[in-house]
């Protein structure tokens, strides 16, 4: 194998796994309670490097109230799987909740939190977004939502006002708005096709989520397992076909040369007013404001049909709190998670980060950048993006990009069916 032109990192990783395998019997139950002088040390891993400052303050406040616990923050999510392999994972974890995290849940990595008092303060609709991925032992609550991000179309309020365009509520209105911008010499939508994830979580998720019942589709697809084929009623081919032309229509409203622009280019250009709309989630907002502090932004869910009641917004549980099952510091970890879910902590975080609080008693959103999405979120008219249901081993974003460039929908969907079947085949055995 040494001659195999594996990347060096791959070799390191393999070496690490082997090393861990060798050390494992020695370490055995190597995780002893990490307490010194009666002070328990917790490791808290969170997935967003940009909010380290906020959590440092939260930890400081928590430690002042709980002098017997010390919390260390780790924002390198990449350490998580190696931690599991070493049998030394962090005690408390926040992760974006999607297929990969759901897989940890199904493998029983996390402890049950259903008896935590804070669990009952969470909006059951939002808790459902987590539990719909499957629960360990069929009933456990492995993760509690901390932050819900809603993504739609970010638009420049100034350009909309100057052109006399109001927020579209149907697909036809949306197309008409794009045509109007185009006629006025304004690029309707800024495209960043070079970063293929922006196509996946943007136009693919929006169009698919607006046209189909995504959760229902993937539930049926998963139930079918490895028996899926392109002509089955549950397949991508049989369900996604009618939605695809709308993706190409969205792509055609993008600027010339979108294929050579990436996410960073897009943020800079959109903040400078080079387009009226941008298919991005709330994570782009702070970047846009950083590029132009006077930019006036709003968001609306992309209407995909001509019935305004159908319009839904793409959401993802951007942070969900979990405690690793084998932590020796369970009591301290539970106290920390309860503190994080205190309304003052969780609501403040979401207010500051243009996200939605998962609590039942959450205050109404006032940030004008996302107020346009609030009604959909409040009424539960939302879906988790189709891309989040895919196992990471499927290079889905590459397929989406190939479709947008090559415009061959038939090939795209049958490739998805094949990939899905192959993953099902090899994980089901």
């Amino acid at each position: 194998m040494n001659a195999t032109p594996l990347s060096r990192r791959a070799l390191f990783k393999a070496a690490g796994l082997a090393g861990a395998a060798a050390v494992l019997p020695l370490a055995g139950c190597g995780s002893v309670p990490s307490s010194q002088n009666g002070v328990t040390t917790l490791r808290f891993m969170q997935n967003k490097p940009e909010v380290v400052g906020y959590f440092n303050q939260v930890i400081k406040d928590f430690e002042a109230l709980n002098p017997d616990i010390r919390v260390i923050q780790d924002f390198n999510e990449g350490n998580f799987v190696p931690g599991l392999v070493r049998n030394d994972p962090p005690d408390v974890v926040t992760r974006g909740f999607a297929q990969a995290t759901a897989d940890f849940v199904r493998k029983g990595v996390f402890a049950d939190l259903s008896d935590l008092p804070a669990a009952s303060t969470i909006d059951p609709k939002i808790q459902d977004l987590v539990s719909s991925w499957g629960q360990y032992n069929g009933h456990e609550t492995s993760a509690l939502p901390f932050s819900l991000a809603a993504a739609g179309v970010i638009y420049r309020r100034d350009i909309f006002e100057a052109q006399g365009v109001s927020v579209p509520t149907t697909w036809d209105e949306f197309v008409a708005a794009c045509e109007k911008f185009k006629a006025a010499g304004i690029t309707p939508i800024y495209g960043t096709f070079k970063d293929n994830w922006t196509l996946g979580q943007g136009m693919f998720d929006y169009v698919a989520g607006g046209a189909l019942d995504i959760a229902h589709f993937f539930a049926r697809l998963t139930a079918k397992g490895a028996a899926i084929s392109a002509d089955a009623a549950e397949s991508f081919t049989s369900n996604f076909g009618p939605a695809l032309p709308k993706m190409l229509e969205l792509a055609s409203f993008s600027q010339k040369g979108a294929a050579s622009k990436n996410y960073a280019d897009g943020n800079a250009a959109f903040a400078k007013g080079q387009a009226a709309m941008y298919l991005q989630g709330p994570w782009a907002l702070s970047q846009l404001v950083a590029a132009n502090k006077n930019v006036r932004l709003g968001s609306f869910p992309l209407p995909v049909t001509n019935n305004p009641a159908d319009t839904k917004v793409r959401v993802n549980v951007d942070m969900a709190l979990s405690i690793t099952r084998n932590t020796p510091n369970m009591a301290a970890a539970r106290r920390f998670v309860s503190y994080l879910l205190d309304p003052s902590v969780v609501n403040t975080y979401n207010e500051k980060n243009a996200a939605f609080s998962p609590l039942k008693e959450a205050p109404a959103v006032e940030n004008p950048q996302i107020t346009g999405l609030a009604a959909s979120v409040r009424e539960g008219r939302y879906y988790q993006g189709a891309t989040t249901y895919f196992p990471p081993s499927v290079p889905l974003y590459n397929y989406v990009q190939a479709f947008v460039y090559g415009k061959n929908g038939q090939q795209f969907l049958s490739a998805l069916d094949d990939e899905w079947r192959r993953v099902a085949e090899r994980t089901a055995v």
């Binding site: 194998m1 040494n2 001659a3 195999t4 032109p5 594996l6 990347s7 990192r9 791959a10 070799l11 990783k13 393999a14 070496a15 796994l17 082997a18 090393g19 395998a21 799987v81 599991l84 392999v85 990969a100 897989d103 940890f104 493998k107 029983g108 990595v109 096709f193 070079k194 293929n196 040369g257 294929a259 050579s260 622009k261 990436n262 196992p391 990471p392 081993s393 290079p395 590459n398 397929y399 990009q401 190939a402 479709f403 460039y405 090559g406 094949d418 990939e419 192959r422 993953v423 085949e425 090899r426 994980t427 055995v429």
Partner: protein, 315 residues
């Protein structure tokens, strides 16, 4: 007679053992290996075995399971291997990698030989120019590819538009049919200096007399190159081709920096697919892919070593 025969009989065992002992000792003392060599080899061997061979064997072991890198797993026999042969995306990555490696090897060697001939000629500021040509070799491939990424995506389209070269007005990295040429170009830019050094060494080993003789015979410079230079540096050419081809089969960083495997699936190399197994929860499947790829590269290496031995060249 009897005495001699008796003596011979008596002395036979002695005679046969004593000299054999002596020869053994002589052989041993002649072949006695200085323990220092063991001190040098054994630790390296142990480190190599522990950090490379053992993990590789662990990888082979897990390729027979459905292990995701964590959590529960069980043996599934050879089905990972069977599934790889039925996976068109994997097969496509093999085709891409081999076409890429072949093309790049040819281009690198043509370019490097041309540069080496130029740098070996009597030109002004030869040392300075040589240094300039070797700079790409000391730069990290990732840095080089990010710089080229910027050039292809931003600078080149602007220039092309200004001068009316419409085919280049959009980034070639965004073109599924041309993106691989960009990767070949950057790889050649990065790899040619290394090959040039080897060719320069080869060219300097050719004695000047043969050219003088050829001049007297009235051979032109092209004829000299074809009939003299090329046969005399053939060993260096073979080394360059073999080392280059093996290296390009493992191409990774430059693709990551330029296209990330896109656009679409156009530039996914085998090494990229294998590495995706670590992040994608697809560890055992891609481990099986790695084993297959190892066997293929092993086969190629054996064939190449045979070729070398036939040519009488040693690496």
């Amino acid at each position: 007679m009897t005495t001699t025969s008796e003596m011979a009989q008596a002395s036979q065992p002695a005679a046969s053992t004593v000299p054999s002992k002596a020869t053994k000792r002589a052989v041993r003392s002649k072949n006695k290996i200085d323990p220092t060599y063991y001190w040098m080899v054994v630790p390296v061997l142990a480190l190599f075995a522990f950090f490379i061979t053992l993990p590789a064997l662990v990888g082979v072991f897990f390729s027979l399971t459905n292990y995701a890198g964590y959590g529960d797993w069980k043996f599934i026999g050879l089905s990972n291997y069977v599934n790889i042969f039925r996976d068109p995306a994997i097969l496509q990555s093999y085709i891409f990698t081999f076409v890429f490696a072949l093309t790049t090897t040819v281009v690198v060697n043509v370019v490097a030989l041309a540069i080496a001939l130029g740098l070996n000629a009597k030109i002004k500021w030869r040392t300075g120019i040589r240094t300039v040509f070797f700079i790409p070799m000391v730069l990290s491939a990732l840095v080089v590819s990010f710089v080229f990424n910027y050039l292809f995506s931003n600078t080149l389209p602007v220039l092309a538009e200004r001068f009316g070269v419409t085919p280049l007005a959009t980034s070639i990295l965004a073109n599924e049919n041309l993106a691989w040429l960009a990767i070949v170009l950057v790889t050649v830019w990065q790899a040619a200096p290394g090959a040039t050094i080897i060719y320069l060494a080869g060219l300097q080993s050719v004695p000047a007399e043969v050219y003088e003789a050829a001049d007297l015979d009235g051979a032109g410079s092209f004829r000299q190159f074809l009939s003299l230079t090329l046969p005399l540096i053939l060993g260096y050419l073979i080394i360059n081709v073999i080392l280059g081809f093996k290296g390009f089969l493992g191409t990774y960083e430059i693709i990551v920096g330029l296209t990330g495997g896109g656009p679409g699936m156009a530039t996914q190399s085998v090494a990229m697919r294998i590495f995706s197994g670590f992040t994608g929860g697809d560890y055992s499947y891609q481990m099986a892919n790695a084993v297959i790829y190892f066997l293929i590269t092993l086969l190629i290496s054996v064939i190449q070593l045979r070729l070398i031995q036939r040519r009488g060249v040693s690496l």
